[in-house]
Amino acid sequence: MPPVSGGEGRQLSPDQELKRHDPDMTPTREGDQTRATTQSRHAALDALMRAAQHGDSRAYHTLLQEVADRMRRLVAARAPWLGKADIEDIVQDVLLSLHMARATWDPARPFMPWIAAIARNRLTDHARRYKRRQAFDQAASDLAEVFSTTPGQSHAEGVVNLISVRRAMSDLSPGERRAFSMVRLQEMSLAEAAEKGQTTIGAIKVAVHRASRKLKQAINRDGKESE
């Protein structure tokens, strides 16, 4: 699964991505006209930011709204597997970062490269955290698998484990059972499972993680009872 940004291959900057997905900024046959429109839109953003730095809260509100819309489009296009909540998290982080760093914008310079640098930085942070979370989930599921297939397990222990797992499966919520079955038993990818279950990858991961934990606990509990 590709990260939000950074990593392998040639990746477009948020500014370039923005142009790719913003209908007003996409080069068309009327190239000159589009360029002129783009320039005037960028100049409008420069003017809004300049006014915002002078304390014009209405201009600042419009600017934040505009940045939020653009970021939403960019992230949805760049990371289509993210759920709405994850996209809004990123958008809000970019807005907060813009707010915190707004004194660093030099009014003599264009606004777009400045906000693009912030957006790129925040997207990279999110990608890093996303990878870390993914690695954690993988470690958790690996742990669960290791517990159920410890070398030296006797046939009887295997049978007990199987019975325990079956019993524990019935204790899972329908969502957890379905997610666990799709990802761990049918070996579907998180994206496939999310699409089939009509939910987000994040929700599937959480459900699989919870299910793995419950199953592990059930095996441990049954193992202790049989000792």
Partner: protein, 217 residues
């Protein structure tokens, strides 16, 4: 919190902001603070008795000049790193003076060896250097961190490492004015080494000191 509510809150609370002056101008303000503190420390500890002789020695002046230039370039680079659309080349700026500094010390080692043989390269423990550099660099470091926190923490580890390099280089610059230690190898290992160590430790703490709002370290 919904994004629209966040936008409302940010717009409502945002008053006028004072645009940060360019890094080139801010670095002089920092240098004034750092050098004043360093001068006060040298005065308090007492300058070395042979300072007048050293001040006319080309090697000493070049080493001191390179240390000071490293401090200025590193502080400038750190400040520039907190400006989102600043050019990338700023972060590499300290490489030139730091290279010149290490190069001079390296050549000094060769000269000492040529003049005095193995005796010129004798390495004895000198832990005071680290303590003095850290002590004299402390206030410049705090001042620079306060200035950096007004910017955007885009590269926190690099930024803090560069800030610590700047502060420690000032510490080393001042140390040479009261500490009677001119053997190139000793200066290279105990003084430049202390500067590098301080910068490295600061780099590891970067994400905890400089961070975006609302994001855990």
């Amino acid at each position: 919190m919904k994004t629209d509510a966040l936008i409302d809150a940010l717009a409502r609370d945002a008053g006028p902001v004072r645009v940060l002056p360019p890094a080139v101008r801010r670095v002089w303000a920092w240098l004034a603070i750092a050098l004043s503190f360093a001068a006060a420390m040298v005065w308090a500890i007492g300058p070395r008795p042979d300072l007048a002789e050293r001040m006319v020695e080309a090697r000493f002046l070049f080493e001191q000049g390179a240390a000071l230039a490293t401090a200025i370039a590193a502080a400038l680079a750190a400040l520039a790193l907190t400006v989102p659309d600043a050019a990338r080349f700023w972060r590499w700026l300290p490489v030139i003076p730091a290279g010149a500094w290490l190069g001079t010390l390296g050549l000094g080692c060769l000269r000492d060896w040529a003049q005095m043989g193995a005796e010129g390269l004798r390495l004895t423990p000198d832990p005071q250097c680290f303590a003095y550099i850290a002590l004299i660099g402390s206030l410049p470091m705090m001042a620079l961190v306060l200035m950096l926190r007004k910017g955007a923490p885009l590269r926190p580890s690099w930024t803090l490492a560069l800030a610590a390099l700047a502060a420690a280089a000032i510490g080393n610059f001042a140390l040479r004015l009261f500490h009677m230690q001119d053997a190139a190898l000793m200066v290279l290992v105990w003084q430049a080494g202390a500067v590098a160590l301080i910068a490295g430790i600061a780099g590891l703490c970067g994400r905890h000191v400089l961070r975006w709002p609302g994001v855990p370290a």
